[in-house]
């Protein structure tokens, strides 16, 4: 029998200059949701696998005379299983509760938040919004991961609601594993570089799909002499990201409203490091090669692109594929599955890169041990899609 282990409180997050304030009830709510996510993943999700192995799979074989050959066959068979139904219903609902909690907390103080953001952003040349940028279909089709308003909706002038709610809620689905500034992704990249490529000192860095800039900031901090350009199509996110970075004393990032499919304002081979973090599964078959072509055009010879992503489904067991694919259908991530079954080398080849030079590496999202303490190996069930170890793929041009 294992003893219960306490989780960190949301209140240990670092409060940067535009971070929403939280009263005690809001903290209790976010902590409840964090515990609920962990409970669903550690205590309920294993029962879904049992239901599959003991009930659904034998019935499937009995009915069809064969084992399922795709994750879709498993999903369709599981949809009628009561345990899968309950877990899915609870998980979906928890996502929605987290959104409501974050939004209500942000909205009750939104006037003050906007003022704080504007104080940092006033007359800044490092925030470049562009009215001509429209929301592409891959961002606007549905509200990604059940986030009402996605990253881009503005409820009034200079709004930052969706960005602030996104920032404060990252903790809830990861139980703090991303660190006190939810910047574990960016830190994982810089940690890997300092360990494996200590001589790589990029002078100009591009971060694509930066949202609130939580992964661009560690890049800018690791390379203080570099110029970092962080782009996104979403205005509220860029406003918030810029103010957030400024409040953390980071001044070498320019946040630009731009669509990565067309970055014609930047010259060929003008960046030596191009990054994305959990970006590609929110694109589309149409935009993905276009963006890779842009990356290929912008990257200097000898430059590096590295992309944090969930692992591809290739060589993955069907059950794990099916569980990871839950987000595709049930958490408003429609491109998650199609992206993860792509042959990335082929996509890279078609975008002008030499796909054979692609490498994959597991980068560790460093746990902020001063605050969260050390997590003992093997002390909880795997939460597919939210583990602190991230798959990365990339190549040197």
């Amino acid at each position: 029998m294992s003893t219960a282990k306490s989780l960190p409180t949301w209140d240990v997050l670092s409060k940067h200059g535009v971070f929403p304030e939280a009263n005690n009830e809001e903290i209790s709510r976010l902590n409840f949701l964090t515990h609920l996510n962990v409970h669903l993943s550690a205590n309920i999700l294993p029962g879904v696998k049992t239901a599959y192995e003991k009930t659904v799979l034998p019935a499937y074989i009995k009915e069809t005379g064969k084992e399922p050959t795709t994750r879709h066959e498993i999903r369709k068979a599981m949809l009628d299983n009561p345990y899968f139904q309950m877990w899915s219903g609870l998980r979906r609902n928890t996502m929605e509760m987290r959104q409501q909690a974050g939004r209500s907390q942000v909205l009750r103080q939104i006037e003050n938040l906007v003022e704080r953001v504007e104080a940092y952003n006033k007359d800044a040349s490092t925030l470049q919004l562009n009215d001509a940028i429209t929301i592409p279909p891959n961002v606007g089709m549905v509200d990604i991961h059940c986030q009402p308003g996605c990253y881009y909706e503005e409820y009034f002038e200079n709004d930052v609601t969706v960005a602030a709610s996104y920032d404060l809620g990252l903790f809830v689905t990861t139980a703090g594993l991303l660190g006190a500034l939810s910047d574990g992704g960016g830190k994982a990249i810089t940690h890997w570089l300092s360990k494996d490529h200590p001589d790589f000192k990029p002078k100009r860095i591009l971060d694509i799909g930066c949202t609130v800039g939580h992964n661009a900031v560690p890049l800018a901090q690791a390379f203080p002499d570099a110029e970092v350009i962080a782009i996104d199509v979403a205005r509220p996110s860029l406003r918030y990201a810029h103010a957030r970075a400024k409040s953390l004393g980071v001044n070498n990032i320019t946040f630009v409203q731009a669509n990565a499919e067309d970055l014609s304002q930047y010259e060929d081979e003008s960046f030596d490091f191009i990054t994305t973090s959990m970006f590609w599964h929110e694109t589309s078959h149409e935009s993905m090669p276009k963006i890779f072509k842009t990356i290929n055009r912008l990257l200097k010879k000898g430059g590096l692109t590295i992309n944090l992503e969930q692992p591809q489904y290739t060589n993955m067991g069907l059950y794990e594929q099916f569980i990871r694919d839950w987000d595709t259908y049930f958490n408003n991530e429609p491109y998650w599955g199609p992206m993860h079954e792509l042959d990335l080398k082929k996509v890279l080849n078609e975008s002008g890169f030499n796909g054979e030079s692609m490498f994959e590496v597991g980068v560790v999202s460093l746990i902020d041990e001063k605050i969260f303490g050390k997590r003992e190996a093997g002390d909880s069930g795997e939460d597919y899609g939210r583990a602190p170890v991230w798959n990365a793929f990339g190549l040197w041009k």
Binding site: M86, S88, N93, L107, V142, F156, P334, G337, P338
Partner: protein, 119 residues
Amino acid sequence: MTDINKIDLAGTKAKGNRPYFLNDKQTEQVMSITMAVAMELSVAKERIATLECLLEEKGILTRAEVENYKPDAAEVAARSITTQEYLARILRILQQDKEEQLSEDDPSMEFAQQELTKV
């Protein structure tokens, strides 16, 4: 500046069909409501625990005084607003179902995937 209904906006629905998993939609909505109530109970219990700690530490109140408390008019009004926010929170699922029924372009994931995988 902000001519918006904050209670409504906090609980608004994400664009995209809402999947239901249980055999009966209303049952799942009741589950959703129950979980929200469970959260609020957890919040309330923590609040009460805080108060009890402080009261005990400071030796300010007795339990009888808490039992006999009668809120004044301003306090009654404030509690009404709090209750409205509370109800909107726990009945969010029905607000979102209403929004989904009213919306005219709420794509299914299958449709979105079809669109997003066009070459």
